[in-house]
């Protein structure tokens, strides 16, 4: 049985690889030419010349524009809503998409409530940019460069390579289920040595794919998105050198925020005092991350983009970057107010984490005013800091505003679930879990909560089914789901 599952797993992984190879190309048609992300493109041709004009074919990984937005809202700290910024960013994105020659490209731009320099796109065509990145950029052309880079990932269907990791994890989950079934059938309470070895190997394979193979696979993709981004900037009449100044800002941010060797050494030392295995694991992770995450180095990306720009567009008048439209938008009183208030909210959260409740409360109070008076994130931080000062009524009011906000944040729901669970209102906590799941597009983040609470209410069979489903359909969440399924079972409800 295990051999069959093992072979099936290998087959699935192979299928994933070949699937990527075909979907990576234009329209998924079989082609003898190597996919562009494998570096098969001549340096004499532009990236855009390989993009066939016409209708955009939706990614097989797309879940729907709105569902994708709902799920991503539940990933971090929610979204910052500002109609003027969103309008501006979406118009800019439309120009970039229009310049690609592709029609019917789905998606829109959303602003992440996040002070870091971050941006990403999804198979649904949505582009997510953090508040931190918007604050760092200085011209409309730099903003266009960021959007052009992310839109390029969508146009080139780069997300398809995620399929490999997903399929491999699903195969591993199935393999584990097979081992579990075999152990149960044999009546044994422990997994045999050979099965344990197989499980370890499967986990190692998944780790290698996640940490080494996929990032390596993604390196050419990042470069390709930079270069197609340059083409799109030129075609949409933006100043293409802005791609380089945007990357320079990313590089400066990376430099300012990378962990120093000394600081890492200190962390390892502390971990070693607690547990040697943890320290070894940290060192291993660091080694893997050094190989994967730091490449391609941003400096290399900058050089390659500059060479591409000079090679293909060096003789053209590239136009000076326009600072005025972006500066005008960011200094609009309504926009500036939203940006300022969110910065206050982030600062309040930081102060709260440092145990400075009074200062955190003052900053949160200032954050939850005017245009952001009913926003979920500032109110959630206010509720937390008010509670830390024993101002329960104020905390409840702020939490109420946060919950009824039109732009919800997951932390509020987490707090409500845990608070109800702690006071013994497990059915109410379960209700909040369902509400959270519905609000955030069925994001898997809520599944471990549900499994834990189901077990506490004695609904063990439901918890088991959900755990199985979680492992197979959302393999990234397999471990938290399995851990939640270890919760001691409560008394089953009376029928």
């Amino acid at each position: 049985m295990l051999a069959v599952i093992g072979r099936a797993a290998a087959g699935l992984a192979l299928l994933a690889v070949t699937g990527c190879a075909t979907t990576g190309g234009e329209s998924g048609k079989m082609s003898l030419a190597p996919p562009s992300w494998l570096g098969g493109k001549s340096e004499h041709t532009t990236q855009i010349s390989g993009l066939k004009p016409g209708p955009y074919e939706a990614s097989s990984l797309a879940v729907g524009e709105e569902k994708d937005i709902a799920q991503r809202r539940g990933d971090g700290l929610g979204f910052v809503r500002s109609a003027p910024i969103e309008l501006y960013l979406n118009e800019l994105r439309s120009k970039i998409v229009g310049a690609s020659g592709k029609t019917g490209v789905p998606g829109r731009v959303m602003i992440l409530a996040n002070p870091a320099f971050a941006a990403y796109s999804t198979p649904d065509g949505n582009v997510y940019v953090s508040m931190g990145v918007l604050e760092s950029l200085e011209t409309e052309d730099e903003v266009a460069a960021l959007l052009a880079h992310e839109t390029s990932h969508v146009l080139l269907k780069h997300h398809s390579s995620d399929l490999m990791g997903d399929m491999q994890k699903k195969a591993q989950a199935l393999y584990e289920i097979g081992v579990g079934a075999k152990t149960a059938v044999s009546g044994s309470k422990t997994v045999s040595k050979s099965d344990a070895r197989g499980l370890n190997q499967a986990q190692l394979a998944v780790d290698a794919t996640d940490k080494l193979v996929l990032p390596a696979w993604n390196r050419p993709q990042e470069r390709e998105a930079d270069l197609l981004g340059v083409d799109l900037l030129v075609e949409s009449r933006h100043s293409a050198p802005a791609m380089i100044t945007m990357l320079e800002k990313l590089q400066a941010w990376e430099k300012a925020n990378s962990e120093s060797e000394e600081s890492f050494g200190e962390r390892v030392k502390q971990a070693a005092q607690r547990n040697v295995n943890e320290a070894v694991s940290m060192t291993y992770q660091r080694m893997v991350e050094t190989v994967s995450a730091s490449h391609p180095k941003t400096s290399e990306r900058i050089d390659e983009t500059a060479q591409y720009l000079e090679r293909h567009y060096g003789s053209r008048d590239l136009g000076a970057p326009k600072g005025a439209p972006w500066t005008a938008l960011m200094s609009r009183p309504d926009v500036a107010q939203v940006m300022r208030n969110y910065k206050q909210a982030f600062s309040a959260k930081k102060l709260l984490d440092q145990g400075k409740a009074q200062e955190a409360y003052a900053a949160a109070k200032a954050a939850a005013t005017e245009r952001t008076a009913t926003d979920a994130y500032p109110n959630w931080v206010l509720a937390r800091s008010a509670a830390a000062l024993g101002r329960q009524r104020e905390a409840i009011d702020a939490l109420r505003r946060a919950v009824s906000s039109t732009e919800p944040v997951p932390q509020v729901y987490e707090d409500l679930i845990i608070a109800n669970e702690q006071v013994g209102s497990v059915p109410v906590a379960l209700e909040w879990t369902d509400r959270a799941s519905a609000t955030f597009g069925g994001a898997p983040r809520w599944t471990p909560h549900k499994i834990r609470l189901l077990r506490k209410t004695g609904r063990v069979a439901e918890a088991e089914t959900l755990t199985l489903n979680c492992a197979v359909s959302t393999p990234d969440w397999k471990r938290p789901c399995q851990e939640a399924n270890q919760t001691p079972a409560g008394r089953a409800p009376q029928r």
Partner: protein
């Protein structure tokens, strides 16, 4: 004689006044940032005459010949060019073709959560997480 002495005094006053005005005017001018070109991004970088149309390179400079930093300033006529001094001569160079020591400010945001899981394919990688405060 007397008239001549007055004129000299007036002249001195005018000189002082002019010096003051020009100093104030100079103070209002945007400061020209002194930079250094620290690296060439191309195998060969085109150097243009700043007074010309900048369509045809006056000369090319090979990366392998780049030994020491070039003094540079932002070109006043175009933000896309830098004025550089190479071997005692002034040229204009496309700013994106070279790396400079220009400071790019960046905020420090540690332990920020970008997403609950690993950043996806297209994400700017998870930098800043767990960095030293």
């Amino acid at each position: 004689m007397r008239r001549g002495r007055v004129s000299r005094r007036n002249l001195a006053l005018v000189v002082v006044l002019l010096a003051t005005v020009s100093a104030a005017w100079a103070a209002e001018l945007p400061k020209v940032e002194s930079l250094k070109v620290t690296k060439l991004r191309m195998e060969k970088v085109a150097l243009y005459l700043c007074d010309g149309e900048r369509k045809k390179a006056e000369r090319e400079f090979a990366r392998t010949d780049f030994r020491e930093p070039w003094p540079a300033t932002q070109d006043a006529t175009s933000p896309l060019f830098l004025r550089v001094t190479v071997e005692g001569h002034e040229y204009c160079v496309k700013a994106f073709t070279v790396d400079t020591d220009k400071a790019v400010s960046a905020s420090k945001e540690c332990n920020t959560q970008v997403a609950s899981q690993q950043p996806r394919t297209a994400a700017t990688r998870g930098v800043g997480v767990g960095c030293s405060q």
